[in-house]
């Protein structure tokens, strides 16, 4: 499997954490032997959301904040495809917040990798929902004072089926988590800390190194309450698989059409006889 793409002019700043995420993602896909023809990368808009352009595969680069709804339906109409979302913290938790909640409730079998740089990179440095208190920007001139959005805690409160956090300074951990997330059946969230070297001078690579730790085996990711308290930790922030809810059926599995027969919806045809009968039933 070769996901490299030629002649691409990558629009990211040299040194951006997104390069690391791109590379780890490519490696995870290669190691998992995923067929690029059967993979769709879905994204919204933002720096993170440009990722699909830098891999050789199918992609759907939609609107800012709106990656999850198309991703959900792409998977639903053709469960043979692997669907991965690459999104930013603003894309996923800001503009896309409502879809985040409700996609988790649906639990489609897709993986969401959120490049969490705690800032709006593409639009030049405004606060994102995950910006920490005190973060000063051209709009938040007195610093952010809103409670930072804690994606892990929220996902756990929604009983998401797979909730993890990694930080791109830790490549091995990231690779491991990406692979597990991609293999997980159901909605998998990987909140990925990553530095924006241009607009976030606080949460740098060094900051992430110093303010995170990898959780040890003692953590039981199937215990929702302890997962919640783990998710609420900060300074330092825990990295690892925080929560996995007991095997939940995925959105597609719950759909009636796949209950008896797993032929993808896209390959099904109009039931003309039944339609004729339905129409005729309206004669009385």
């Amino acid at each position: 499997m070769n996901f490299d793409i030629e002649n691409t002019d990558i629009a990211w700043c040299p040194g951006c954490g997104n390069f690391g995420i791109l590379n780890v993602l490519k490696r995870a896909l290669t190691e998992l032997e995923i067929n690029p023809q059967k993979l769709v990368l879905v994204s919204g808009i933002g720096q993170a959301a440009k990722t699909p352009h830098y891999l050789r595969t199918n992609f759907f680069n939609g609107l800012h904040g709106r990656a999850l709804p198309p991703a959900t339906m792409i998977k639903a109409v053709n469960p043979d495809l692997k669907v991965i979302i690459t999104s930013g913290d603003g894309d996923m938790y800001g503009e896309g917040g409502n879809h985040f909640i409700h996609a988790i409730r649906r639990n489609p079998d897709v993986t969401a990798i959120v490049h969490n740089n705690m800032v709006y990179g593409l639009t030049k440095g405004q606060a994102s929902p995950t910006s920490q208190v005190g973060f000063v920007t051209p709009i938040q001139v007195d610093g952010v004072f809103e409670e930072p959005f804690n994606p892990l805690a929220v996902a756990i409160s929604l009983n998401a089926s797979f909730v993890a956090r990694t930080s791109i300074h830790n490549l091995d951990l990231s690779l491991n988590i990406f692979k597990q997330a991609i293999q997980h059946k159901g909605f998998a969230l990987v909140d990925t800390f990553t530095p924006c070297i241009s607009f976030n001078k606080i949460n740098t690579r060094k900051w992430y190194e110093e303010n995170t730790y990898v959780i040890d085996d003692g953590h039981d990711p199937t215990n929702r309450n302890s997962a919640f308290s783990k998710a609420c930790e900060s300074y330092p922030w825990p990295l690892g698989i925080i929560y996995k809810s007991p095997t939940k059926p995925s959105f597609e599995e719950n759909l009636y059409i796949y209950q008896k027969n797993n032929k993808p919806a896209i390959n099904r045809e109009v039931q003309w006889d039944k339609l004729k009968a339905l129409i005729e039933s309206k004669s009385v």
Partner: protein, 568 residues
């Protein structure tokens, strides 16, 4: 308003509170009338509440096809005391009012049918409605056997006891009716019957939903909103049989983005909504424009702005449909005028979307989706699902620049290629570009499709000669009402143009206008949005506008009146 004289159809109005069961009588009545081989038309107007309020259903029964509401009421059955004051303006000396005088607290001269008392004699008040049903059926001189048989079928599932009592109740009403007929107090014209055994009776929502299924729709994602909800509800009801994915989205934004995702992956999909929900989809519409992704949107209009009148009707969102979404991209807007056409046009909408890779909007309204009448069954042999999806080779380019602007559409996993789509301006492979020459090519490519789309626009229906002195133009749900009004007026020099595609405008409209002298447009809105569109698109200025925007559809008499005024 002067009323259409009683000719060969009879107009019945049932009125009452929500939850009082008018819907049941309505259903039974229209079905039984149809079984008696009468043509039937029914339309309703109702308040935005689950219980209480005051709602009416108007039913026309006749010996010829009926597809429009009239003002005249021949027989009024009020089930509640609010009805009489509300319908006052429609009651004339010719109107027969029959009901429970005590409950109605009225001093109008009405035929007192002590429904409640009679019902109680059968053991409960719940039979009042069935008694009223029997009454109506007998006044229309229908067959008691057919009534009995149908009631048996209808109540069958609820047990024999209930069947028996309901039949008894119906006969009680029937008897009362017969007395009124016999003593000559009620006299309706004799209606001849036709063989409409195989006709079907559906409402607008059902016509759209069945058209969608016939169009190969595999997925509907929507957020509930009156009056758009009927379509998804119907599709949910039959989702098992037709292997549909029916998803209630968290909001309208999710809905349109889901539908676009489904098309991308290879499944035909639609959304159904009303104006407010459609407004929220505007950005998604623009996305479809940029991705060149087909998508079908059913927009059932209701009066706005804002929440407006959620259960009423209006044709107030044409301009919204025309211009929603930022930037410039082509679209198609259809507006079926009859239930029959709604089925075929919706079916076609999916093929058009697929062929031209543009959003297709089907504009209906509350009046249209809630109205039903009998029509011949659909001919499935004349339609097919024309999928334009190709098998990709290795060098597949989603946005290949072609002469006519249409790039063959592949889907992920089908063939050796890869499908990349992007909401940014993109190159042929779908990758983001800032090459400004390519930008121009891509704009031209997208807009170029409009000329092809124009060529295949659904022609307007033309009733009358093409060299008439006067032209009367209508669109969508208003078409059939204008049709009947014009017919009754019987003016030789008046031609009716009934549009079923409003954008791009069909060639035959342009053609007729080029020589038109006197023109009238009829629209169920306050600002004449079609008139504005015609002016913008053809430079042709309409002379007269007949507009209505109180939340109700036009009636035949009202149009006869206003049209006469404008042409005299």
């Amino acid at each position: 308003m002067s009323q259409l004289p009683l000719s060969n159809d009879i107009s019945i109005v049932l009125g009452g509170e929500a939850g009082q069961g008018i819907q049941t009588i309505e259903q039974l009545l229209t079905k039984i009338l149809k079984l008696n081989n009468f043509y039937v038309f029914a339309t309703k107007e109702y308040m935005s509440r689950v219980r209480g309020g005051s709602n009416t259903t108007s039913i026309r029964v006749g010996s010829h096809p009926l597809q429009a509401p009239i003002e005249r009421v021949d027989l009024l059955i009020p089930l509640d005391k609010e009805v009489l004051p509300r319908l006052q303006h429609r009651i004339t000396s010719q109107t027969i009012v029959a009901g429970d005088m005590e409950a109605l607290e009225t001093n109008l001269k009405i035929f007192d049918i002590p429904l409640k008392k009679l019902s109680k004699e059968l053991g409960s008040e719940i039979y009042s409605n069935t008694i009223a049903l029997g009454l109506i059926l007998s006044l229309l001189k229908t067959d008691g056997q057919i009534m009995e048989k149908y009631l048996g079928k209808y109540f069958g599932a609820k047990g024999e006891k209930l069947v028996e009592l309901n039949i008894k109740a119906a006969h009680l009403g029937f008897k009362h009716g017969r007395e009124l007929l016999e003593n000559g107090t009620v006299r309706f014209p004799e209606l001849s019957i036709s063989d409409i055994q195989n006709d079907i009776m559906i409402n607008g929502s059902e016509a759209i939903a069945m058209g969608a299924i016939a169009g190969g729709c595999r997925c509907i994602a929507s957020y509930p909103m009156s009056p758009g909800t009927g379509v998804i509800t119907f599709m949910a009801k039959v989702e098992h049989d037709f292997e549909l994915i029916v998803e209630q989205a968290e909001d309208e934004i999710a809905a349109i983005n889901m539908a676009i995702g489904a098309w991308y992956a290879g499944a035909r999909a639609m959304v159904t909504t009303s104006g407010g929900g459609f407004a929220l989809m505007a950005e998604g519409l623009s996305l479809a424009g940029m991705l060149e992704m087909p998508v079908v949107i059913h927009l059932a209009q209701r009066p706005g702005p804002g929440t407006g009148l959620p259960t009423r009707t209006e044709q107030g969102d044409l301009e919204l449909a025309l211009y929603a979404g930022h930037g410039e991209f082509p679209r198609i807007i259809l507006a079926p005028g009859s239930l029959k056409d709604a089925f075929y046009i919706t079916q076609k909408a999916f093929n058009l979307a697929d062929k031209f890779q543009v959003p297709v909007i089907i504009l209906t309204d509350q009046y249209f989706v809630d109205t039903y009448y009998n029509i011949p069954s659909f001919d499935l042999s004349q339609i097919k699902v024309e999928s334009c999806i190709i098998e990709m080779d290795e060098n597949y380019l989603r946005y290949q620049l072609t002469d006519n602007g249409i790039s063959p559409r592949g889907i992920p996993g089908k063939g050796k290629g890869l499908v990349g789509v992007d909401s940014d301006e993109h190159d042929e492979a779908g990758h983001i570009t800032e090459n400004l020459e390519l930008r121009v090519k891509m704009v031209d490519k997208r807009l170029k499709k409009l000329s092809l789309i124009k060529e295949s626009a659904i022609a307007a229906k033309i009733y009358g000669p093409s060299d008439s002195r006067g032209f009367i133009i209508s669109w969508g749900s208003t078409n059939r009402i204008v049709r009947e009004a014009v017919k009754h007026l019987g003016k030789k020099d008046l031609t009716h143009i009934a549009l079923q595609q409003v954008y791009p405008l069909p060639e035959n409209l342009r053609h007729l206008l080029s020589s038109a002298k006197h023109t009238i447009v009829v629209e169920n809105n306050a600002t004449s949005q079609l008139g504005n569109l015609i002016l913008r698109e053809t430079g042709f200025q309409i002379d007269h506008k007949i507009l209505k925007y109180n939340g109700l559809p036009f009636t035949v008499e009202e149009l006869m009146h206003t049209i006469s005024e404008k042409i005299s």
